[in-house]
Amino acid sequence: MENKPIVTCAGDQGLFTSLYTSLAQQLPREPMEWRRTYGRAPKMIHLEANFVQFKEELLPKEGNKALLTFPFLHIYWTDCCDTEVYKGTVKEDMMRWQNSLRAHGSADWVIIVVETNDTKKKNKTNILPRSSIVDKIRSDFCNKQNDRCVVLSDPLKDSSRSQESWNSLLLKLRTLLLMSFTKNLGRFEDDMRTLREKRTQPGWSFCEYFMVQEELAFVFEMLQQFEDALVQYDELDALFTQYVLNFGAGDTANWLGSFCAPVCSWNGLLLRRPIDMEKRDGIQRGEASLLDLRSYLFSRQCTLLIFLLRPWEVTQRALELLHNCVQELRLLEVSVLEGALDCWVFLSCLEVLHRIEGCCDQAQLAANCSHTVGLWAYATDKLKSLGELCGLVSEKRPTSEDLNRTVDLLAGLGDERPETVNSLQSPYKKLKEALSSVEAFERHYLELSHAAMEMYRAIGRLRSARLVGKSLAEFYMKKGDPERAETFLQEALKSYVSEGWSLPVTHTRKQIAECQKLLGRTEDYLQTSALLAGDVNLTTEERKHFCQEILTFADKSEDQSHKVTLSMGVFSQLTRLQFRPATASVHSGAVLQVELTLRCLMPVAVHIQQLAASIHFDLERGGTNGRSKGNQRQTNPGTVEFHQGNSSAGPPSSSAAGPPLELDEIQDRSPSDNSLNSTGVVCKNTHLVMRLHDNISLPDTPNCVSPPAVTIQEGAQMLKVQDVTLEPGNNSILFTAPSGQPGTYTLRQLYATVGQVQFVLPHIYPSVQYEVYSQEPQLTVEPLSEPLLAGLPQMVKFTLLTGHYAVKKGDALQLSNTDTMPILPSTSSNWMLTYSNLVGESALFIQSSEKVTSISLPATPPYHTVEFLLEVLCIIPSGSDRPANESPAGVCPQMSIDCPWSIYSTLLALTFYIPFKTKHSLLSAGNRKYIQVCVQNMSDVNFTLAEVKLAEKQHASLELQSLNTKTQQLLCSKHSVFCLWEVRWKDDLPSCLQCVFSANFSPLKQDVSAFKPFHYQFQLERVTTLYSVRAEISPPAGEQHCRSGFLCGLEVCITRLTEPAEGEMAEDSKTDTDGLKTTKLMYEVADSSSNWAVCGKSSGMVLMPMVADATHKVQIEVMPLFAGHLPFPKIKVLKYLPHTAAVAIQPDPDSCVENDSLSLLDKALDDQGDTASIRSRGSVHSVGSGDQQQKGVAMPRLEPFSPGQVFNHSHTQQVLVLPATDDHILEVNAT
């Protein structure tokens, strides 16, 4: 548009023409700041102008509001420099000009006086009044407005002065122009507002107002203020919209009537012209329809937006406009031919898109798909509904009615606009072509659909793309092309399923079913039908229909070989599985029942010919006992609950996210000793789980789009039930599981056969197992009460687990008798036959012969338990018979049992504990001898001990006199009883005594008959007392008592009491030179409690003549270290045995071993021990030490006497020792 603000030029036209070019060029060169009224932001503006010759007609008449033709500035040009000329003609002309301006109320004028050197030269004489002409003009015309007269100097010269004057002129012009704008536009706006305020008055017309405001918009546009121009249109838009809304609310404006006229032209938007004058004229005349007004308004907005470089706003506004128009027509109840609006929208969409394509390059378009895609989709939508309306979307040709409708629609389009007549791809041509034939329609529709889908995909709006795809599929279905439709439907379904939108799923699936039926994909169709039959979103009738489809197919018996396998999940769900018995573990041959709970999803009862579950059989493995339990829910043993996501409705729970992991435990055991090497968990369905990650299909869920290929694994063994009717809802089916072979049975698959159709559940998860075991007969013998005591009758429990062996009548257990453990016949014994609970009880039949005891067993079926009790007695072995290595506490008599099921004997070992522990000891008092026996009760039972006896076996002359007073004695648990006998003899005491201790015992509080004997044998040797030792401590001379710290004398007197016996003579004596037999004794004074200090030698050797009453005295000095009653130091007498081979060293007859080699002194007195002493001492202690003997150094030995052989008179005797002095201070510490 070449609209520019009009500036009129009066005066010297020739002068103006000469300056016009440079003026027009230079005026817009620099921007001016335009300050606005009403607080609007100031703007920088480049001013242009359209200079026209001044004519009276150009001046606006009263009431003419046109702004476009409004002259904003009036210029009077003159180059007059002659006062005369000025006065004569120019002034007059100016006056006329001024008057006409004033008459029209225009105050925006300027007078330009051009001065050139030429003119100056011409009038040399009148140089002086040069300025006076300007002054004159100023005084004549510009009173108080000096700036209304501008001088332009030498405009055609290229001098700085000329430039300067140009600049000031231009600045002046710009300023004046802007002033004029501000003033005139302000006035205009005020008028416009006033007009707008009148809109409630009757007779107000929107169209009139529209023209007024648009005038303003035009001016803004003229001034390149597109933003402001757009605002004007937006205001108009909003005003109109508000009127329409008010109309809807019942507030009708009269002028709106014209817009409510029926729509008779729907030729779409026209955006190729800057101003659609046709429509504008219509609006001006008040004849425009709503669509015309909207179209015009939008075309103007579009133009301005494109000027503003905001094409994407156009698309957005376009979509809004189209939606809005449709709504407004509806609201205004404008009658529109059916389909006309669709045409209008379709054309408009394409027109907008064309317009945008026209002003953007390809890359920009591609990057802004998101803005245009809405229009594409809308156009597609509209075209589709047009196609349906005109009968173009069907397999048949359009009917004549359709054709009539098409003709009507095309008529409303009118002729093609001249702008697009020559373009091949105009929206008008497209629509006409599309409506002309079925084929053309299909082509155009597909083109649009694909374009929309691709754009949606490109911007990531996949759901929208799928929705378009679905709509395309519907089109294909109507065209009778299900093959192409299916892919789109499947894709859409997949998306709905994966996001869990049940209603769209159902709807799409229904379409797929139709599609599959047409395609003849029986299997898929049945699968989909099954899904739909179980779909709660459908009505019962629909569900029944789909169920019937399956049943009808199933009943077709023509082709037996053609079986269809479907996924079980669509038909019914396995919800629970229950084992009876709950342990899911039975012995082979036993009855194991499995109860399945199936939730049938069908709307009607379905008769099933066969329901079967295949079983995987595993030979029994070691250590698998605990496994079946591990797989089951702990809370409810024997019951497995199957949790599944809802079939089609509801959120895709975690289970729908993929097939559940099937995990199994593995144990790697070492082949040699069955020890565990490693253990772990394996996933058995890795292939399914992993596949999920590759493509996002959900193979194992009933929701899946295409049913998974179900493979039937025919197992050798099956759980089978024939002819079941599954009612809708939960059904319980009872199977009897095979339990022939021992091993682990895993339920793998479930099949339901309905005629030709088989529903298969490919994996039962969590995996369900049961075990069948086989057991060898087992006999266990255990004590009824622990521990078994020897010597008393004890009850022993026999438990026989029959296992797989059936005990026949007449079968018996053969027990071999042993002497140490006879079986006591007892009448009270019964056998008990049990199988999980008590079955029978009857008397036990025992037959005893010399060697064998035979116990008859009752006839017992396998896997039962027989229990009975036997009473046995273990005889306590008497002391000497006891084998040395056996533990004295227990006896283990062995018994062998022959069982009827085995050729081998079972060895039975029971441990009996001897209740008593006996100890004996010999006590002496001088020559008199006593024997003490201690019986200790080791058991937990209290006993009565009676008839305690001690007997000597070999020497009849010996008399053992009992010193025990009680005949019966209580022997409590863990306590001891001591018995004592004095040994009396007549002539000679035998050196060796063979004694037998015997007693009767019975558990406490039992009668006499229950007494059992107990024997204990022992042997005593070297009984006779050989020496007596007597010690005496004498106080120091002159003292009455010993004092601590003072030496006392200790006299030890050793006396031989008996004649030497024969054995003794040979053993350790030697004959002296004078024929007297002597023996060497070693004495030793040792004080372990440090009461005494032995001074001098503490030990020594005495040579003892082997005759009765031979005495040897030894004097030793000792010193008491404490005061009080001190026990005597201990005196030990030992046998001194010189080495038999030794000949070298003869001990001094004086009996004193000088070298101290044998002294075992008190440590305190043992001063510097030389090497010899250490060596010799070592030899004493390590008898037979290899080193010493090899050297051949003969060393004497010491040997203690047997307990009874030496009697110490002064044993435990005490002597009074006084403190050394009295002035001891007793320190008492009281704390």
């Binding site: 929208s464 929705l467 996001e499 209603l503 509801g650």
Partner: protein
């Protein structure tokens, strides 16, 4: 005010969806489902620029000839979608916002119920009541 109100889980499955003209239920399901495209687009666009300080209200998702679809996303990526009849022009942006706020509050109450299993569809009567309230008002307005 609304003709359809939907609550959609983070994983894009419907937690709750109700529409007023029940015969058109399917259409609304499709509409709401498709609107998720725009919701995702808006979330990702906003997420980049503002981080966690984002506005929950997403505004008009897209207009159709008959309906206007508005969106709202909680911080836990639960989406609320309200579909309003296009002819219902009395509704301003602010009113839509307040509807979403109300819906959000009620939804929070549902989530606070210890017996509600997050991720399950909403079966709360209180929530139903709030939704009904928003829908009933429609009837009085138009």
């Amino acid at each position: 005010m609304a003709v359809c109100i939907a609550v959609i889980a983070k994983e894009n499955y419907p937690l709750y969806i109700r529409s007023v003209p029940t015969q058109n239920e399917l259409k609304f399901h499709y509409t709401v489902h498709t609107s998720l495209d725009v919701v995702e687009e808006k979330i990702s666009a906003v997420g980049k620029s503002l981080g966690d300080q984002r506005e929950l209200y997403l505004g008009l998702l897209y207009p159709t000839e008959d309906y206007k679809v508005y969106g709202y996303v909680t911080n836990s990526k639960v989406k609320f979608v309200i579909v309003v009849d296009s002819s219902n022009t009395s509704l301003r942006d602010n009113e839509i916002r307040s509807m979403f706020r109300k819906l959000h509050n009620s939804f929070t109450d549902v989530m606070c119920n210890p017996f509600h299993n997050p991720g399950d569809t909403i079966q709360s009567k209180a929530f139903d009541g709030i939704v009904s309230g928003m829908m009933v008002q429609t009837a009085s307005y138009t």
